[in-house]
Symmetry: C2
Subunit: 208 residues, 2 copies
DNA sequence: GTTTACATACAATCATGTTTGTATATAATA
DNA sequence: TATTATATACAAACATGATTGTATGTAAAC
């Protein structure tokens, strides 16, 4: 087949990434061969190997399409320094993430793949470490927000922003995991927002 | 080779399970071949296929060695009805689980495999569903304990046992995940007990 | 004309499930 | 109690298919 224009090539590249995501989600990363991805994207393995060195490079490309926006989302929440209501900022952040999972099938698939359809061994161990690094970054931002909430008197007395940040991170991590695992929408997915509000409610200063 | 006695066969079987666990932990479930397991157990594939139909049956056998005791542990905590201090029962349960992970390398490996070294697709999707079922069971027991804590006046006023149970489950689920992922003991593992106490502390009625 | 963007062909492993072979533990029988 | 029959606990061989990376070919864009 003939050479394509640069824009065409970019389209092919994205098609391959999309195909990879879909096949990963259906068959798991390990059981997915380059041929599976190629035929699903309606190209040959040659095209895949042209755009990506191997499977893990493709995996990284796919991951970035969900995680770069997520980082931006975290930063946006934390950077809003003039917010009058830091506690609500946290709550909104959690709810928005769940919203995104509900509405964006691609993002949802990427989370699913990374949480229950990928084995973090060999070349993939680095991915796990990057996730952990991101978690620490996320915890930092949560701590910042809780500190601001404390300054504004939103928190119950005696609560420590550091502890709250860690606790909220574990809560949210657990929530995402349950959300993904409960793929038949048996309840958890509908309950998510309620759970978030209750979680934040636990910290909120009682209105006298 | 010759036929072994029943006890010898049982030993061989357990050796194969142990070998499977070790190789799964090192290479991930998908990348592990029956031959890998066999040679690690110092038997041939024939022995493995004699004792187990295929890889997933072996996986189930391995899993049960960690999860059956875990269920018992949950039941033991919830059945202790005369406990004067249900909140501490919960706290102890969390801490004991972490203790087990710290001291029992086999259990630790099984958790690791199930959380980050296994892809839940095809024959493995059933495993995920079973995990979710177990989670719901766990949440029920937590709810029971929180109800007892409420009756004994241990909880802060206005807290709902149902909400607390879900929140604690998410916390614990997130904690286990972080514990497993933080394999280089960079902090999370040491912090676990502190986090548990703080989490429970959030619910505890302030001593007047 | 050269580089790009692929398709096609090649070579080399590797894994799976099954089948067959076999020595012996164990139960049945005499 | 000694003998025999059979099921057991594997090892070894077989047949088949899948996957990977690379190497080569090619037509069109630049």
């Amino acid at each position: 087949m003939a050479r394509k224009t640069k824009e065409d090539a970019a389209i092919t590249r994205q098609r391959i990434i999309d195909a990879a995501r879909e096949v990963f989600a259906a068959r798991g990363v390990s059981r997915t061969s380059i041929e599976h991805i190629a035929s699903h994207a309606e190209v040959t393995r040659g095209a895949v190997y042209w755009h990506f060195k191997n499977k893990i490079e493709l995996f990284y490309a796919m991951r970035d399409q969900a995680f770069l926006p997520f980082i931006d989302h975290i930063d946006a929440a934390a950077l809003n320094e003039e917010s009058e209501d830091p506690l609500s900022t946290i709550e909104q952040f959690f709810e928005n993430t769940i919203q995104t999972l509900n509405h964006d099938a691609a993002i949802r698939e990427i989370y699913e793949i990374m949480m229950v359809k990928c084995e973090y061994v060999d070349e993939f161990t680095a991915v796990l470490q990057q996730i952990v690094t991101n978690c620490h970054y996320f915890i930092e931002k949560l701590q910042l927000l809780y500190e601001r909430a404390q300054q504004k008197g939103q928190l119950n007395i005696g609560l420590d922003p550091v502890a709250l940040a860690l606790d909220s991170h574990l809560f949210f991590s657990g929530l995402l995991h349950m959300w993904v695992k409960d793929s038949r929408a048996e309840g958890f997915r509908q309950q998510a927002n309620t759970l978030i509000r209750q979680h934040i409610g636990l910290r909120k200063r009682a209105i006298p």
